[in-house]
């Protein structure tokens, strides 16, 4: 069946039973990996929903990435570590463990040929690692926590986004900062509450490599009380200029993940005090043209390699698999 996001519907609800955090499909599409507040990781059979779970880190896991062949999954923990696991092993045991950052490792990504792994953390650093866990480069320049990392598909550049709403573009070979995209509205400082809030929660690039997209939140009138709305920023990759902002007016939440679908649609997951949503935008428009409200707030999202299924993690202990096609008869 062909992609038709306006017909998106929940196909499966898979119960784990503990509040879920992050998820990521394995590149071959066989498995979905997820994490939860009980400090475990789960591996779900992408078709049947059968799962195994194992205790992995000394803390929560906030992100996953895979080597290109899909046989190694990398988990980013709030216990300073990234751990490399055999994807399909009956009982996964760590292949490589790396004390990657001082404090949380918030994000991880792998470049196109699998030769480099990038991680970002609360120590405000971005680090590059070899597949055997050796430090290749340390990139300093963020002034607040690093929330997201993303390798440009051509492998020449790495992008890293921080709490300040800045996305640094690094030249991978030299480690030099090439330029910075400023998504100012994705950060705010609330003087009354004394807190910085927002951040670049996720980064992606359109399939034609012309549009850089990122998501987060704005209108944070009460950060401590979760009063805020999702916001995307789009930049023209070539010129570096801001193309447009895409608010999701009236929806209380945070854009947690963003991805481009095969027809160019931007898919954004939003979770927060207003509940959980899948939001669908056209890159040329400011407002979302469709949304699907989910049963519970969303904390993470991943699109299946088939481009038709999307998994979301939820506080209520469920994984929800939504299909972006018409329902089967």
């Amino acid at each position: 069946m062909a992609l038709d996001v306006t017909k998106t519907h929940v196909l499966h609800e898979w119960k784990y039973g503990k509040p879920m955090i992050a998820c990521r499909y394995e590149p071959q599409g066989r498995f979905l990996f997820s994490s939860s507040e009980d400090y475990s990781l789960q591996r779900w059979n992408a078709e049947s929903g059968e799962k195994i779970a194992w205790e992995a880190h000394d803390s929560w896991v906030r992100d996953f990435a895979f080597l290109p062949d899909g046989e190694t999954v990398i988990s980013a923990g709030c216990d300073d570590r990234i751990i490399f696991w055999p994807t399909a092993a009956e009982k996964p045991e760590p292949k490589v463990e790396v004390a990657a950052h001082k404090g949380w490792v918030r994000c991880v990504d792998v470049n196109g040929d699998g030769s480099l792994i990038a991680s970002g953390g609360n120590d405000r650093l971005v680090k590059l690692w070899s597949p055997d866990g050796k430090l290749v480069k340390e990139l300093a320049g963020h002034e607040r926590d690093v929330y997201s990392v993303f390798f440009h598909p051509d492998g020449r550049f790495l992008l890293s986004g921080d709490l300040d709403g800045k996305v640094h573009q690094w030249e991978v070979a030299t480690g030099k900062l090439a330029r910075t995209f400023e998504a100012k509205d994705l950060h705010s400082y609330n003087g009354g509450q004394g807190v910085h809030y927002g951040g670049i929660r996720d980064i992606t690039l359109s399939a034609d490599k012309k549009t850089l997209a990122m998501t987060g939140l704005h209108k944070a009138s009460n950060p401590l009380g979760a009063v805020n709305e999702p916001l995307n920023y789009l930049f023209d990759w070539e010129s570096g200029k801001e193309v447009r902002k895409q608010p999701a007016d009236g929806i209380k939440g945070i854009g947690t993940n963003i991805d481009f679908l095969s027809d160019g649609t931007e898919l954004v997951a939003s979770g927060g005090s207003g509940g959980g949503y899948l939001l669908f935008f056209k890159a040329g428009e400011e407002k979302h043209f469709h949304n699907l409200k989910l049963k519970d707030t969303v904390r993470g999202m991943s699109v299946h390699p088939d481009g038709l299924r999307v998994a979301t993690t939820h506080y209520d202990g469920h994984i929800r698999i939504s299909k972006m096609t018409e329902k089967a008869a």
Binding site: E37, D38, S59, D79, G194, V195, H196, L224, G225
Partner: protein, 423 residues
């Protein structure tokens, strides 16, 4: 309202039960020779007790600070770390404070039975539950009154930050109400350039004459407040630099942190060194219903640097034996993590940190269960803590103030100090 509080005369400085009687006998270890600034050392009397409160507004999470429960269903992502007291662990968000735990103590078994900001704030700062129509003095007012020294003209109850006079002294009278400071001398505290010293003295003498005459027949709390405010303003003008944190060294500003709380804690050290008996520093905000972990990472990072530096300095300067340090909030936060990675209000099982003066270093009082949802040992309330603070600075917390011939208990008589926490 007719003035019914203590008039400040020598007869009224002591209540009938002589609650201050124990103060002079309080164990005070000298160590003042360790002060780096001899001029400051000279101002600090060896038997003067002081109190500094760090108030973490909104309700700091006990699980992300003093009572971590890692790897439980309520534990959250932060780990526990060892401290300088063997066997005592606190959150990894407080690595610098952890090195000072041998100078501090924890109470991990507070149950204030309240989840309301206003009520909790009153409980913890006034030592009682709020009752309609009844006013009690703030801990700072009690300390300002009970620990005041006749030879120090500065206000005894300072709030940082702040910019106005509080109305928090109840029957003790406005001279013990809090004065807000922001790390710089009070606005307009310099004598106007066009006014000579002689002319200024003349006009103040005239004001006093007029006030005295008026007070003979028409003295009220309000007129006393006006009079007190003028007199205190004059004293502030004379010693305005005491309130100017920029007089501290650049190195100290760096050590405390170039952010509000850092500079406010440095200000607190300066005020304590100048003999002010009670300083309260507020850090805002910990009311983290949303993204509790991100915000505690941010806020406690500042707190850890500023607080640990303050504790270290008080210790190094020989002041910790005479300075009670308290870290409090209006309540803790729910063990249960909500859908937005937040924690909500929780007064049923939470913690405070305190130290110095007569607090037993390294003590841990009370216990919560495995995932922190309830107190399982030595439950205490705000009233017990209030008694303990007063006892720690050598006061008989069971004593009373004589207010116009009426005895007013210093602390809630239905509670008592946590004696095992005191040396």
């Amino acid at each position: 309202m007719k003035a019914r509080y203590a008039c400040g005369s020598s007869e009224h400085l002591m209540a009938r039960r002589q609650f201050l009687g124990t103060l002079a006998g309080g164990a005070v270890v000298g160590g003042l020779g360790a002060l780096t600034n001899p001029a400051v050392a000279g101002q600090i009397q060896s038997n003067q007790m002081r109190v500094v409160v760090l108030y973490l507004a909104g309700g700091v999470s006990q699980l992300e600070s003093w009572d971590p429960k890692p790897k439980t269903d309520t534990g959250g992502p932060f780990r526990a770390i060892p401290t300088s007291v063997p066997g005592v662990h606190i959150s990894e968000l407080l690595p610098k404070t952890a090195t000072h735990m041998d100078k501090l103590a924890l109470v991990r078994s507070i149950n204030t039975k309240n989840n309301d900001h206003g009520k909790g704030s009153y409980q913890m700062q006034y030592g009682r539950s709020q009752m309609p129509g009844t006013e009690y003095p703030h801990l700072g007012a009690v300390c300002a009154r009970a620990l005041e020294r006749a030879d120090n003209p500065l206000p005894g109850h300072i709030r940082v930050p702040g910019g106005s006079r509080g109305s928090d002294a109840a029957y003790l009278g406005p001279q013990y109400a809090s004065v807000g400071m922001n790390g710089k001398p009070p606005a307009n505290s310099e004598r106007a350039g066009s006014l000579t010293e002689a002319a200024d003295k003349l006009r103040n003498d005239f004001r006093r004459q007029a006030n005295d005459r008026f007070s003979l027949q028409r003295r009220t709390a309000s007129t006393d407040l006006y009079t007190q405010s003028y007199e205190q303003a004059l004293q502030l003008m004379e010693r305005r630099e005491v309130f100017d944190v920029t007089k501290e060294s650049e190195a100290d500003m760096d050590r405390y942190g170039r952010f509000d709380l850092g500079q406010h804690c440095l200000m607190a050290r300066r005020l304590l060194e100048n003999g002010i008996p009670f300083v309260q520093v507020q850090h805002s905000n910990y009311d983290t219903h949303n993204e509790n972990f991100n915000f505690h990472f941010e806020q406690l990072g500042e707190f850890d640097q500023a607080f640990s530096t303050l504790v270290g300095d008080l210790h190094d300067r020989g002041m910790l034996e005479t300075t009670l340090v308290v870290v409090m909030s209006e309540f803790g936060r729910t063990p249960k993590i909500n859908a937005r990675y937040g924690r909500d209000h929780w007064g049923s099982a939470w913690s405070v940190c305190l130290g110095g003066a007569k607090i037993q270093p390294g003590a841990v009082i009370g216990k919560t269960n495995e995932n922190g949802t309830k107190v399982i040992d030595r439950e205490v309330e705000h009233g017990d803590l209030f008694h303990t603070y007063l006892s720690a600075v050598g006061l008989d917390s069971g004593g009373a103030f004589d207010i116009g011939g009426r005895e007013q208990p210093m602390a809630d008589p239905s509670h008592a100090p946590i004696t095992e926490l005191l040396t």
